[in-house]
Symmetry: C2
Subunit: 220 residues, 2 copies
């Protein structure tokens, strides 16, 4: 209301809206994210946003393409395997940073950064010598793994018990698991000793897939 709000009253712009939108979603997830809340963060009335973005859906699509632009593109300087490996590792890191984007990366109406990245991946495979059909398969299995792993990692990150009640419920569940679900009990017992590093876990599956593709390429 008063001119002494904490947000500096610079002119609004699409870039500034997008930046604030991503910061808000990064911080609070998709549930906290909304037009009214975003306007508040920018020190502006909700309707001011609609001069810079058509609606919420268009805004989210633009945010998604910014996320895509942060993913490394397989450079033609590297061999196909290193290029794809770096791109996949980068994608996981980016999706960790912007975990609200995880369910939305595969949206209809892909943006330019999305197209650029996917074109480069497909190019990398074709130039390596994969047939068109095999390149399609290889492309599909990689992206499914990347997005699926990011999803798993996200919910694992939410496992941190929020309050004492949650923790107690979880403990009770673990005890029941001991009786009915011996193999889950083994996980609960051993994984807390070993620890669990998502980055190396991701790399293990990624290398399994890339090994498989490499064998296919050598066999032809």
């Amino acid at each position: 209301m008063s001119p002494t709000t904490d947000a500096p009253r610079r002119r609004l712009s699409k870039a500034r809206v997008l930046e604030a939108a991503i910061a808000l979603a990064d911080h609070g997830g998709l549930e906290e994210f909304g037009m009214r809340r975003l306007a508040q963060e920018l020190g502006v009335v909700p309707m001011a946003l609609y001069k810079h973005v058509a609606n919420k859906e268009e805004l989210v699509n633009a945010m998604i393409d910014i996320v895509f632009s942060e993913i490394e593109i397989p450079s033609s300087g590297l061999d196909w395997r290193s290029g794809l490996r770096r791109r996949a590792m980068s994608a996981r890191e980016v999706l960790k940073r912007h975990s609200w984007a995880i369910g939305l990366m595969e949206t209809a109406s892909p943006g330019p950064a999305n197209l650029r990245n996917h074109n480069a991946v497909m190019g990398c495979l074709r130039e390596a010598g994969f047939s068109f059909q095999t390149a399609i398969h290889a492309y599909s299995v990689q992206d499914a793994y990347i997005y699926g792993f990011a999803m798993q990692e996200k919910t694992l990150g939410l496992q941190a018990p929020r309050d004492a009640g949650d923790a107690a419920r979880r403990r009770a569940q673990t005890i029941r698991a001991h009786e009915e679900f011996p193999y889950l009990a083994e996980i609960a017992a051993k994984l807390s000793e070993t620890g669990y590093d998502p980055a190396t876990e991701f790399a293990w599956g990624l290398d399994l897939i890339l090994d498989g593709l490499d064998q296919l390429l050598r066999a032809t």
Copy 2:
């Protein structure tokens, strides 16, 4: 309002609420799904639902566990590879039927059907001779692939253009792709000839992963 509403006025029960909820979500997706809309479908006032479920979140969790219960459990009668393969193929089919569940399967506080299935998968791997650590990796790569593929298939399913404007926009994009993104242009050109079957596409990547796991098992 009048006693002649189309829904038969049988007594409400948690089972009846869940059944109607899944039917509604299957039909209209998560966006159409809501407490008020669900109540309307059951011919009841919104608040009547709250005697049978605590809130929307608890309701969705219960729905998710029903989805889990529809996924085949790897039977101990089969060899490990066939068991896991059948379970994965079944998971994809179930997620196709209930595509609203795709982002939510890996939720915190898993239900009993979830625990049962995951325990059986882990047991299948351990009994096949995989070490604990390798079994964890194998488990992770499979589920990441299954959920990631389901996500991709879901958005591919939404690609069907809704109106003429959409179709025109998509065509324009394809033309631009020809110039800037030759490898995407190749996909657009060739994939419409070949056709694309999600089930065989899914099996290709699944077999690549299972082959890799099989080689690991034989090497030890």
